[in-house]
């Protein structure tokens, strides 16, 4: 994925403000030459009822709202981000089991003791068997 430093900072800030619970949201932007170019984020409430420090849920109505917000900015939803409080920024078995479509960027920010650490990005393999890490480039989109 390609994202500006501002976008990455906004994901970190969201992760910190929601700590110790998991936070989640959408990556908005465009697909350019097969790469997800992220120019904005859209925060979403974690609607998971229990275990919110280790689970997140975005129901379809929230997806539709985010889609409308993206369309108003002439953008598309190109990915999802969530935080791993006190846990590495690696997709978990739960992330793989519950993954949605291949082609989205899945960004994860680790938040250690309230401070955001690294952000990683992942792509679900087309056969849904695993996540592969996707490089994050920070140059400004053309």
């Amino acid at each position: 994925m390609i994202a500006s430093p501002d976008v990455l900072q906004a994901i970190r800030a969201h992760g910190e403000s929601g700590y110790p619970e998991e936070i989640c949201g959408f990556l908005l932007g465009r697909i350019q030459d097969g790469t997800n170019v992220v120019t904005a984020i859209e925060r979403v409430d974690n609607e998971q009822d229990a275990n919110r420090e280790r689970r997140y849920l975005i129901p379809p109505d929230a997806f539709r709202e985010a889609q409308r917000a993206a369309t108003e900015q002439s953008l598309d939803i190109v990915g999802i981000y969530h935080s791993h409080p006190d846990h590495p920024a690696q997709p978990s078995a739960t992330d793989l089991e519950q993954a949605t479509f291949s082609g989205y960027t899945y960004a994860i920010v680790s938040v250690d003791n309230g401070t955001a650490r690294n952000i990683t990005a992942w792509q679900l393999a087309p056969d849904r068997s695993r996540f592969t890490e996707e490089p994050i480039r920070t140059e400004a989109p053309a």
């Binding site: 998971q48 280790r54 379809p60 997806f63 539709r64 969530h82 949605t100 479509f101 291949s102 087309p126």
Partner: protein, 97 residues
Amino acid sequence: MSTPTVTLHIPTPLRSATNDQATVNATGDTVRTALQNLVERYPDLKSNLYNDDGALRQFVNIYVDDEDIRYLDGPDTALTDGAEVSIVPSIAGGRSR
């Protein structure tokens, strides 16, 4: 009476299977037959929408106009000409422990 033609809204990552089109037309009397028509025309969509048992994947939600078909008649929800049918993922995950 001819079979209804509906507009299907395709999520961003699936548009590689629909020649980069965000919306495509399909025909069908019900959601089930319209989706069948869709995957016949764009076969790369099939494994994204359906599991190996031929059921819609758990995270795949279908809306007809602004209603989730779960609260209508599910895949048997009847379609009328010009209906807007959206494929909407629900998203979940989280660290393991």
